[in-house]
């Protein structure tokens, strides 16, 4: 009974939250609404890729392909069948999520098959190749609008649907992780031979991960198509896959909360950069140089200073302060050099900053923001607790 109550409450909370986001967004301009949609979609994409890449350890870098398959499935169905549809458009939208998910899941099944034979980098290449093949084949199909793309009917902006999709994806992955059913996935990542020896059906596990992960990506794609109103193959280039992969790794491979946070972060930074005003080249160069040194300093502290976290925090604060000062001074000095006096459009810096943040984060925290942990307040506060629990009975 208690179970039923909490379950009903949590489902209601999720739906309530989605509609709250929708309500809040309605007051905003369409650009902000679009951003909300995209942010939710990226969360779905990164969490679903995390299932394949992080949890099951199958190195897939073609996730945009499933996203594309879902989007095109929805767009094609919209053109072919929507005119005869007499139900509500919202029901159609939900239906399309299912259709996109299923079509992409089938694609995921096909791509999952090589994973039974290939490992690591080789699998990565095959998935990347699959992504490109999908894009190029679509680009050459008349029914799919070739490189011009398709316009999608109906064009529906329903923010709550994408928010709910993201929540569903997170919830499913999280549930999997906290029950014994999730362990075989991790086991396959850690050691296939040992997993099989323990009775784990490695084939089935991998295929399930691929099917589910790509299914969610497909549903996200379908939602994307309907929200955007028009799609074309260029929206699903290889760098999309890279961005999604980056979100997963940056969040910490295997960590669902990490994927969510990294997706929001990596989506937010470049979008924020869009309305950045012009930046002087001198400032840019000084930032580049100082951040380089700051990263080196932080790495030095990480590797060589074995002091309590509070002391290290002081070091980091010091480094940040020095970096800020150096940026200012160096910027002023460089401003004297004629070659550095020009300005750069802020918008152009979008992906440079993205790439820069990526490199810096990898250099100072290669295991990802959350590493293999999940976010919890205990975990966040653990470094502040004085007593470090010693492992009982562990010898050096």
């Amino acid at each position: 009974m208690k179970f039923l109550a909490t379950r009903v409450l949590s489902i209601l909370a999720a739906i309530g939250f989605s509609f709250l986001v929708q309500k809040l967004a309605e007051g905003q301009d369409s650009f902000t609404q679009q951003l909300l949609v995209l942010a939710s979609l990226y969360v779905t994409l990164s969490v679903s890729l995390n299932l394949i890449n992080g949890i099951t350890g199958q190195f897939s870098i073609g996730h945009a392909a499933f996203y594309q398959v879902g989007a095109y499935a929805a767009a094609y169905c919209g053109t072919a069948f929507y005119p005869n549809w007499h139900g509500s458009p919202v029901v159609w939208l939900l239906l399309m999520l299912v259709v996109g998910g299923i079509v992409a899941a089938i694609a995921g099944f096909i791509v999952g098959l090589p994973s039974l034979r290939l490992k690591g980098d080789y699998l990565a290449v095959v998935t990347m190749g699959f992504g490109e093949i999908v894009r190029i084949v679509v680009q050459n199909q008349k029914v799919l609008g070739e490189s011009g793309g398709l316009s999608v009917h109906p064009h529906l902006q329903q923010i709550w649907v994408v928010v709910l999709l993201a929540i569903l994806c997170i919830a499913l992955c999280r549930n999997l992780q906290i029950t014994a059913h999730g362990l075989p996935f991790l086991a396959v990542r850690e050691d296939e031979v040992a997993s099989a020896a323990m009775g784990v059906n490695v084939t089935k596990t991998k295929v399930i991960a691929f099917v589910l992960g790509s299914g969610f990506a497909g549903a996200a794609g379908a939602a994307y198509a309907l929200q955007l109103g028009a799609i074309n193959p260029d929206l699903f280039r290889m760098d999309q896959s890279f961005i999604i992969l980056t979100m997963v790794v940056l969040g910490g491979t295997g960590s669902v909360t990490g994927s969510v946070l990294a997706a929001l972060l990596l989506f937010y930074i470049p979008e924020k950069m869009r309305d950045l005003s012009d930046v002087r080249l001198s400032v840019l160069v000084s930032i580049l140089i100082s951040v380089g040194f700051a990263v080196a300093a932080v790495r030095y502290v990480i590797n060589n200073v074995h002091k309590p976290i509070k002391v290290r925090a002081a070091y980091y604060a010091g480094i940040t302060a020095v970096t800020a000062v150096v940026i200012t001074i160096l910027g002023k000095i460089l401003q004297l050099v004629p070659a550095f006096q020009t300005s750069v459009e802020g918008g152009k810096l979008r992906l440079v900053v993205f790439a820069g943040v990526l490199i810096v984060l990898m250099l100072i925290r290669p295991e990802g923001i959350f590493a293999h942990h999940e976010f919890s307040w205990d975990w966040l506060l653990s470094p502040l607790k004085k007593k470090r629990t010693k492992l009982p009975g562990v010898s050096a």
Partner: protein, 398 residues
């Protein structure tokens, strides 16, 4: 639903096949050069250097800027290039790329060496994006530019001078003779028309009836000549080899022989092979592993530089922008895997096969799928021979 087969091989023109194969071979050598860089780095570090395509791009920029500094700026009036200019560009691009490769390794990859491989891979992707988009700020504002083809001493606007023409099966001689006769008629019609044009004041859009008549006659003669030439050439199999590309092929061969010597017969090469077999043991045997890795990056990147310089100089109409390296990079990487990643002859073989396959697809009339064929081959190979053509799949020890 899929219209994969627009005309199902019906339009295959056997006479253009040799030309496509030769073009494929030439492009393939460039892929091979770039693939060598991927393969060597992978061999030593087990890292897919995703930024390799961007090193290639920077090599093309280096060649471009050197050509500009030699006076071949856009709109220059210089006549002909020289061997000197070509060699300067080649060496320059190679040195610049070697330096960039070393810097990338030192700053981005070395700190990641003890981390999970996926972390290094993400860093590599980061470096690649950083160079692509950072380049748009620092490199000519990202405006696409091309290297003036005149910088090559082999260049000529007249294809019969600039190309070596190989005749596999000549045109029909009788018809050709007929066409020759017609060309004198065309010349006559042309002089008549031009004389009349001058007489009428030189405005070709405002002609008297006589001028119009002469003009139409001239045009008709021209068309007839074209069709006669076409008739004569029907069934002829000709291969045009731009001289610059022959030079390119020669250089690539020399570079590859040099590389083989370096890897197989020198101390440094032996160290490289040792490191690629076992990183830790090699360092225990007194090999300076860091030096070997740096050297490998320098070498691999300089080959990309050479490839980039040649691709940008000898492929007519090539525009250089900061995404110049993306496609060649990906294809070269596929070539490396195709040949068996970590395997040097494999990379060369893979590169050439890739070039050939691509052009065969174009020849077969599926030009739209040109960029997909690389991956189709790749997936097929990996599924049936996972180690690549010349590589061997490792058996995991339990």
């Amino acid at each position: 639903m899929l219209d994969l087969a627009p005309h199902l091989l019906a339009g295959l023109e056997i006479s253009t096949l040799p030309q496509q194969l030769v073009t494929g071979l030439l492009i393939g050598t460039i892929y091979a050069l770039v693939a060598l860089g991927y393969t060597m780095v992978y061999g030593v570090l087990k890292l897919i250097n995703f930024a390799h395509g961007e090193v290639f791009m920077l090599g093309a920029y280096a060649a471009l800027l050197i050509s500009w500094s030699l006076g071949y700026t856009p709109g220059n009036s210089l006549e002909h290039g020289s061997w000197m200019a070509l060699i300067l560009m080649l060496i320059g691009a190679m040195i610049v790329c070697a330096l960039i490769g070393m810097i990338i390794e030192r700053l981005a990859y070395r700190p990641m060496r003890n981390q999970a491989r996926i972390a290094s891979l993400i860093t590599a992707i980061g470096v690649s994006l950083f160079l692509q988009y950072g380049g748009q700020i620092f490199l000519l504002n990202g405006t696409p530019q091309n290297i003036d083809p005149k910088v090559s001493p082999f260049y000529s606007s007249d294809p019969t001078v600039g190309n070596i023409q190989l005749t596999i099966k000549g045109p029909n001689k009788e018809l050709l003779a007929k066409a020759d006769q017609m060309s004198s008629l065309v010349d006559k019609a042309k002089t008549d028309y031009e004389a009349e044009l001058k007489l009428e004041g030189g405005d070709e859009f405002n002609l008297q009836p006589k001028g119009k008549e002469l003009r139409d006659l001239y045009r008709k003669e021209q068309r007839d000549l074209e069709s006669a030439k076409n008739d004569a050439n029907k069934g002829a199999i000709l291969v045009n080899l731009p001289k610059g590309q022959v030079f390119m092929l020669g250089s690539v061969l020399i570079i590859m022989v040099g590389l083989t010597w370096l890897v197989m017969f020198t101390r440094q090469g032996r160290a490289m092979r040792a490191v690629s077999l076992d990183f830790d043991s090699a360092s225990l045997m007194g090999i300076n592993v860091n030096a070997v890795v740096t050297f490998t990056f320098a070498l691999g990147s300089s080959l990309a530089g050479a490839g980039a310089m040649m691709a940008a100089t000898f492929q007519s109409g090539t525009k250089i922008d900061t995404f110049f390296g993306v496609l060649p990079g990906v294809k070269a990487f596929v070539a490396a895997v195709l040949g068996g990643i970590g395997n040097i002859p494999g990379a060369v073989l893979g590169g050439i096969l890739m070039g050939l396959a691509e052009n065969l697809v174009v020849w077969a009339g599926y030009g739209g799928y040109k960029d997909a064929i690389a991956f189709v081959i790749l997936i097929a190979i990996l599924l049936f021979k996972p180690g690549g053509l010349l590589g061997s799949a490792k058996v995991e020890k339990v």
